[in-house]
């Protein structure tokens, strides 16, 4: 008798999880490919404004980044709540911009230097005063190609 009722003891069989690693690996590969390691640790609030008439910056190595915005809450006791500039990993003054541009130029191969672009990553709540000052400094050191980095979206997102 027992020979015939081995199966179907009334228990639900366990769910087969053999394909779980496959699914997880798929996700893993997606994130590995999509990841860009951030090279700057942001100390400021950096919520970019939205625009839809954008051009893509295609040569990553030819871009210099200047960040500006309000300091993060952890730094506000030291640096206040007024918008500040960040170059590389440090807070900087307007007067530090030319030195930064020269250093960046030095680090690039000579034939690439004319194609360098400055990307301004400015928080949307910043006043134009600081942006105007940055632009003025850039003109002084002849770094004329700039790019206002934005999110892609309709301009109506910029109103609160």
């Amino acid at each position: 008798m027992s020979k015939f009722n081995k199966k179907n003891k009334g228990e639900i069989p366990a769910v087969n999880t053999a394909s779980l690693p496959d699914i997880v690996f798929m996700l893993l590969f997606f994130f590995m490919v999509a990841t860009v390691m951030r090279d700057n640790d942001l100390k400021i609030k950096n919520e970019l404004p939205a625009a839809n008439q954008v051009e893509k910056l295609d040569k990553k190595e030819l871009v210099m980044y200047i960040y500006a915005g309000k300091p993060n809450s952890g730094y506000q006791s030291q640096y206040g709540t007024e918008a500040r500039i960040q170059l590389n990993d440090k807070f900087a003054e307007i007067s530090d911009v030319p030195a930064f541009i020269y250093a960046e130029r030095e680090s690039k191969r000579e034939e690439l230097r004319p194609f360098l672009t400055t990307a301004l990553k400015v928080d949307k709540e910043t006043n134009m005063g600081i942006v105007g000052d940055i632009k003025q400094e850039l003109r002084k050191v002849n770094a004329l190609k700039i790019n206002y980095t934005t999110r892609i979206g309709d301009v109506s997102l910029n109103k609160n």
């Binding site: 999880t17 779980l20 690693p21 997880v24 690996f25 996700l27 893993l28 994130f31 590995m32 999509a34 990841t35 860009v36 390691m37 951030r38 970019l48 404004p49 939205a50 625009a51 839809n52 008439q53 954008v54 051009e55 893509k56 910056l57 990553k60 871009v63 672009t117 990307a119 400015v122 928080d123 949307k124 709540e125 910043t126 006043n127 134009m128 005063g129 942006v131 105007g132 632009k135 003025q136 850039l138 003109r139 002084k140 002849n142 004329l144 190609k145 700039i146 790019n147 206002y148 980095t149 934005t150 999110r151 892609i152 301009v155 910029n158 109103k159």
Partner: protein
């Protein structure tokens, strides 16, 4: 002698390892934005003699400290500026050599001569917010793109935006040199003359 089959490796912990890696990448990922509005700043050395530009060829946009928009001395909403800029750029009021045979504007002699002479001057104050400034820049660029689109449809039967997209696409099968030539023609017809005054 019977050969013993090697025992199967237990793959049960593979999922755990993969999860660990997955969580690491999830946490470290920041999808970087690398697109924006490109501009070229004017060089600093002031030329000795000022170039005389007729007042009617300048389209003044002023964004004040309260983010209010003043276009040609008239208060305007952000939504209206695109149409106003298109009307100004495409006016083509010039005569003879300054004429513009492809413009579709009103040919008003009090407005711009042709798109090549028309200059948009964008002024801001120190208290203007960056978001508002970018919004206005975006609308002005949109005006140029619109005019180029119309012109491209007329000349080549496809829009300027489409051509730019094709030019960027590595898999596009067409002739890129010819396409670049077409794009340059359109840019010559409607050059982006947008000056940012401090």
């Amino acid at each position: 002698m019977a050969r013993r089959s090697s025992p199967e490796v237990n793959a049960g912990s593979m999922a755990d390892i993969a999860f660990l890696l997955l969580i690491f990448f999830l946490v470290t990922t920041t999808i970087e934005t690398d697109s924006g509005i490109s501009r070229k700043l004017p060089p600093i050395e002031e030329s000795e003699e000022d170039v005389v530009i007729k007042q009617k060829n300048i389209f003044t946009v002023l964004l004040n400290g309260k983010d209010q928009l003043l276009v040609e001395d008239e208060l305007m909403e952000l939504e209206e500026i695109r149409a106003a800029a298109i009307e100004f750029l495409d006016n083509g009021g010039g005569k003879g050599e300054d004429g513009c045979d492809y413009c579709k504007g009103k040919k008003d002699p009090r407005s711009s001569d042709n798109p090549d002479k028309a200059i948009i001057s964008l002024k801001n104050e120190r208290e203007t917010s960056y978001a508002a400034y970018i919004s206005v820049q975006n609308e002005l660029v949109a005006a140029y793109t619109h005019l180029r689109n119309v012109r491209a449809e007329e000349l080549y039967g496809e829009s300027y935006s489409e051509m730019i997209k094709n030019y960027r696409d590595v898999n596009w099968p067409g002739n890129k040199k010819k396409l670049k030539q077409k794009i340059n023609n359109l840019r010559k017809d409607y050059p982006q003359k947008l000056s940012e005054v401090q």
